[in-house]
Symmetry: C2
Subunit: 267 residues, 2 copies
């Protein structure tokens, strides 16, 4: 059986760390590939080059928009350690950089080592009682057509121009075709929800990601991933978004942070 | 007048994005250069290559320890945009990578754009009433000899084997020689305090940084920088540390996050 996400992140190795990594249709928002999808697509080649099982910490800077079409990713292993390996990568198209990434890969087993957790799981309603992510009917079907993204009923106000006034989106991440969520697809989940500032300022134009970092902290058990995204600071034309992801057993499996551009006007 | 930090981050351009970036003595912990110092040293060359005024978002992965001595940093500008430029860099020594970094540079003016801030400044005592960072008299003078790092009296328990049980360190960052703190030195501040897990688990061996990301959110006014570092999750042999930094006018000037190794044993 073949799942959509596996097809969309498939990379053909050309040798010397170079991969064909075509950007697939319908993982986009309004024509440009989603940042989490690009992180998973490029991260998949980096993981392959590392020879390790999981991304541990991976950062990506977004340089130019990526509509569907052919692309090439070049990886370089810059450290192959006993416990961790670090890889840098660039995805390019027509000689132009699309993204640059650096990541460290290794084993992830949340059950080992010293344990301390003060993260509070958000008050959530059941998966079935959360509406699907609202889709803009004016746009071509994109990322939302691949995912079964559910959003807390209190956090969908942005879609009807009734933002809750809190920079927060709580929801569930799952694939439409039932693909299990593994550590690679957590990289997609980290950027698969509407920008939380939509619930603060309303939908005032697009808010492109400058940089996204994901720490994978556990291997998820089967089931949808509970996600909470928040933002604490918008100023200077920038805002940050923090994500925490829990698996259906209640274990934290990832933390994310991104810095994005906000519209420079104050209204 | 020449300040220590400027001397220590001085880079000699050799052309084509290559710089001599010697690692200076006494910016170390027990012989290995501090991660924030390396971020500032390499970040300074990246900023120069970018032609922009400030780091906006910069990430570094730490590959091998860096004792004092000669080192070379090679930068590549991978995007020169209208508003932002992105640069990748590697510092190496004897053909071996020490760190790899990726950063985006541009203007920082916290006063412009939409504004929202829910970050709460920690309860602090005055700079003068905070003890200096405790120094291990068994070690050679290092980073602490350059800085006037003050720590909240409630957060110094780790040094006397009386950890408070909370993964938190609040304090002030300033230079011993009175150098003003600018956006470059905020990169140092982000890693200049004792690991917060020392106040949770005690000082159980070193906790090397895998990856550090700093978002510069404002240009500090003169005066010491109030810093709060916390951690929410230790598991699987990893822990994260989040930092927020305020200038003396009460404006947030930086946010940081790192992922570090924790001792794998549970005791």
């Amino acid at each position: 059986m073949s799942f959509e996400f596996d097809h969309a992140t498939h990379a053909t190795p050309l040798g010397n760390g170079v991969y064909e990594t075509p950007v697939e249709d319908r993982w986009d928002i309004n024509g440009n590939a989603n940042g989490g999808y690009l992180l998973a697509l490029v991260g998949n080649t980096m993981r392959a080059e590392s020879g390790r099982a999981h991304p541990v910490s991976i950062s990506m800077h977004y340089l130019s928009p990526a509509p569907e079409g052919p692309a090439t990713t070049t990886c370089e292993v810059v450290k192959a350690g006993k416990r961790l390996s670090t890889v840098v990568a660039s995805m390019s198209r027509g000689g132009r950089d699309v993204v640059r990434s650096i990541g460290t890969f290794g084993d992830v087993d949340a059950s080992i080592g010293a344990q301390s957790n003060t993260l509070v799981m958000p008050d959530m309603v059941a998966f079935e009682d959360c509406p699907k992510r609202p889709v803009d009917q004016m746009l071509k079907p994109g990322l939302s057509s691949r995912l079964d993204t559910r959003i807390h009923p209190d956090d969908v106000g942005f879609a009807t121009n009734e933002p809750a006034g809190i920079a927060r989106v709580r929801g569930y991440f799952a694939f439409n075709d039932g693909r299990p969520v593994d550590t690679l697809s957590l990289l997609l989940a980290a950027d698969a929800f509407p920008p939380v500032t939509f619930n603060l300022f309303g939908m005032k134009g697009w808010v492109p990601t400058i940089e996204l970092t994901v720490h994978v902290r556990g291997v998820p058990v089967p089931g949808p991933i509970l996600c909470e995204f928040t933002s604490t600071l918008t100023q200077g034309g920038y805002w940050e978004e923090d994500g925490v992801m829990w698996d259906s057993a209640g274990n934290v499996v990832a933390m994310s942070r991104q810095l994005a551009l906000s519209p420079l006007s104050t209204d």
